[in-house]
Symmetry: C2
Subunit: 355 residues, 2 copies
C-alpha cells in the first residue's frame, strides 16, 4: 500500500468508454459516498492530530478490505506530492480540486486499476468513489456498496437513524451519495437542442456540470449529470431516477445524430473532418480546442464516418492533453504557450495515419 | 481565330508565378492600355452597327498582328457564350465584370497562351492587356507595346497631341495605361503591418485592390497595386515609379516573413498547418476561406516549411476553386451550398499526400 504517481501513470485511462453500441454516448459512470466517523470532529473543525488519526484508521480499515484490492493499492499523501503530481490526480478524476488544495492531514487511497478510491479528509472524512467506463450504474453501485460495507464494518460511521449518514455539508446528509454519468452529447450541441434539454434535466432535480466539475461548462461536449438530493430517497431510488433520465438523454442524442446525418451529412462530415484536420496539422493547441476537436473526432468514429481511427487513441488523448499529464510526459514544468505547442505535437504524432 | 472556352480551359493557369527566389511574393504583372478609334463614337454612345464595325476593324487588325499570335488565337463573342463561360473569362482575368455584363457588340481576342488579350467595346473600344506570372513590368511592357504598335499601325487611334490617347473616362486619358502587380502579402497581414503599409502606398498615388478588383479586399492576402494617373507621366515613368514601390513592398514582406519565423515560428507553423488541415479535411469550403487557406499553404511553401507540396498544384487551385471553374469542371450549374461541397472535395482530392 504505497506507490508513486509514475506507477499510476502506467495505467491506461480507465474511465473512458470505448465506442461500442451502448457506450459511445455514456462515457463513464461514477458514484461517491460521503462518510464520517462518529464521535470525531469533521475535517473542517478537526485538529491536525485528529486528521492524522482518521488517516490511520481509514487506511487500516481499507487495507483489510477486498474491494480496494489492497495491498496492491496506491496510498498517496498529497502533502508529499509535487503540485504537478497533485494535478495528475485531479485530471484522472481521483481527487477533487478542494482535496488537492489542502496542505496536510489528508490521504488518498486508490485501487490499482483506479476503479475505486478514497479521499481521506476532503470535506468529509471519507469520500469513497467508484468510477467505470460506460453507463453502468448498477455495476458501480455494487462495487462501491461492497467497499462501503467493508469499511463500515471496521469503522464507526456517523449515522443518525432518522437522517442517515451525517456529513459536513447538509446537502450530503442522508445517503451521502452522488451518482453521476458523463455523457458525450455533440449531436445535441450541434443541433442546438442542448439548452432546452439541459433545462429539462435541471427541472428533474438533477445537476449538470462539465468534465472537471462546475465552471467547465460543456468543454468537449461532455456533460456530467448527477443527483442533487441525498435526503428522503434511497440509493436505489436515486440510481433508478438517474438511469431513467440518462436513458432518455441517450435516446435524444441518438436522434440528434441521426438527424445530423440525414439532414446535414456534409455539415457533419465537415465538423468531424475539420476537427481531425486541426488535431493533425496545428502547431499550437489549447486544452479547450483540443477537447473540442477530440469530441468531433469521437463523434466521427461513433457514427461510422471514421473507420481507420482507433478510439483508444482518442480516449488516451482526452486525458493526455491535459496540462499536468502533458507536463509529466515532458518531464518539465511548462508555461501555457509551451504546453499549447507540446499538446499540438502530441496530437499530430499520435493521430498521424500509420502506413 | 475562333475557339471555345473548353479549349481555353486546357491551358494551365498562366498568370500565377511559381515559388522561386523572386517570384514568390509578386504573383503576376499586368498592363492594360485603353484605346479608341478616331472619328467614331465611343462605346457608351455608339450604335449597335458602329459597335459591330469596331469589332470587325479591330479583329482584322489583330489577325494580322504577330503579338497576338493569330490565327492561333481565340476570338469570343460574349453574347454567344453562356453565363458560366463568361464567368470563366472573368476568373481567368481575361475580361472585366463590366465587359461580360454587356449583351452584344463586344468581342474578346485572346492569345492562345492567354498572355495577351483585347476586349473590344468594353468601356473603351480597345482594352489591350498583357499578363505574365511574376514581377516583370519591362517584359510585359514590351509585349503590350509591340501589340499596341502593330494595332496602331493598322487602326486610326483617337489621339490628341496635347492630351495623348483619348478615352471614355477622363481618368484614363493620356497613356491610357494601367500597370499593376499582384502581390501575395501574408507576412504583412499576419504581423499587422498591412494597414499602414497600404496607406503609404495610396499616398504615393497608387491604387490598391483585391484579386478580382475593387470590393474583393485582401482575399487570399492578394493585393493588386497599380498606377492611378495616366496623364502627365510617360509609360516609362509610370512603370519605373511602380517598380520602385513594388520593390519596397517585396522587401517589407520579406522582412515580415523573417520576423514571423524568428519571433513566432510556431505561430507561423500553426497558421500554415491549419490552412493545410482545412484544405485536406473540410467538406464544405467557401471561395473566401479556400483562398485564405491556399494563401497560408503558399506561404508555407515559400518560406520552406512545406517541402513535399507542389506549388503548381496550389496555383492551379487558386483558379480552380472559383465558382465558374468549379461548375465548369462539374459539368453542371451549382448553387452555393453544392459549390462549397465540391470545392472542399476538389481540394481534398488534389492536395492529398501521394504515396
Amino acid at each position: 500500500m504505497s506507490g508513486t504517481i509514475d506507477e499510476l501513470l502506467k495505467n491506461p485511462v480507465s474511465f473512458l468508454a470505448d465506442a461500442s453500441a451502448d457506450e459511445d454516448i455514456a462515457i463513464s459512470t461514477r458514484i461517491r459516498l460521503a462518510r464520517n466517523l462518529g464521535g470525531r470532529a469533521f475535517p473542517i473543525a478537526a485538529t491536525p492530530e485528529s486528521d492524522l488519526e482518521v488517516c490511520e484508521l481509514v487506511s487500516r480499515a481499507a487495507a483489510e478490505s477486498g474491494a480496494l484490492g489492497c495491498p496492491e493499492c496506491f496510498s498517496f499523501d498529497p502533502a508529499e506530492l509535487s503540485e504537478l503530481d497533485r494535478e495528475i490526480l485531479l485530471e484522472r478524476r481521483l481527487a477533487s480540486r478542494e482535496f488537492i488544495a489542502k496542505t496536510g492531514g489528508t490521504r488518498l487511497l486508490v485501487r490499482s486499476d483506479e476503479s475505486c478510491s478514497i479521499m481521506i479528509n476532503e470535506e468529509d472524512q471519507l469520500r469513497i468513489q467508484a468510477l467505470r467506463p460506460g453507463f453502468c450504474l448498477d455495476e458501480v453501485w455494487s462495487a462501491i456498496d461492497r467497499l462501503d460495507d467493508e469499511l463500515g464494518s471496521r469503522l464507526d460511521y456517523a449515522f443518525d437513524s432518522r437522517l442517515g449518514f451525517l456529513t459536513s455539508c447538509p446537502t450530503n446528509v442522508g445517503t451521502g451519495m452522488r451518482a453521476s454519468v458523463m455523457l458525450h452529447l455533440p449531436g445535441l450541441v450541434l443541433t442546438g437542442q442542448i439548452g432546452p434539454v439541459m433545462q429539462g434535466v435541471r427541472k428533474l432535480n438533477l445537476a449538470v456540470r462539465g468534465i472537471f466539475g462546475e465552471g467547465t461548462d460543456n468543454r468537449g461536449n461532455l456533460f456530467q449529470i448527477s443527483n442533487q438530493t441525498t435526503l428522503g430517497e434511497s440509493e436505489r431510488q436515486i440510481i433508478d431516477h438517474l438511469k431513467l433520465v440518462i436513458d432518455q438523454l441517450i435516446t435524444h442524442e441518438k436522434n440528434a445524430r441521426r438527424q445530423l446525418l440525414a439532414h446535414d451529412r456534409y455539415g457533419t462530415l465537415d465538423h468531424v473532418g475539420r476537427a481531425y484536420g486541426v488535431l493533425l496539422h496545428s502547431y499550437k493547441l489549447s486544452s479547450e480546442e483540443a477537447l473540442q476537436c477530440l469530441s468531433g473526432v469521437r463523434l466521427g468514429v461513433d457514427v461510422g464516418l471514421f473507420s481507420g481511427l482507433d478510439i483508444h487513441l482518442v480516449n488516451e488523448l482526452f486525458i493526455a492533453i491535459n496540462p499536468a499529464h502533458l507536463q509529466k510526459a515532458a518531464g518539465v514544468s511548462l508555461g501555457e504557450p509551451e504546453r499549447d505547442i507540446r499538446r499540438a505535437a502530441l496530437c499530430r504524432e499520435r493521430l498521424k495515419p500509420r502506413v
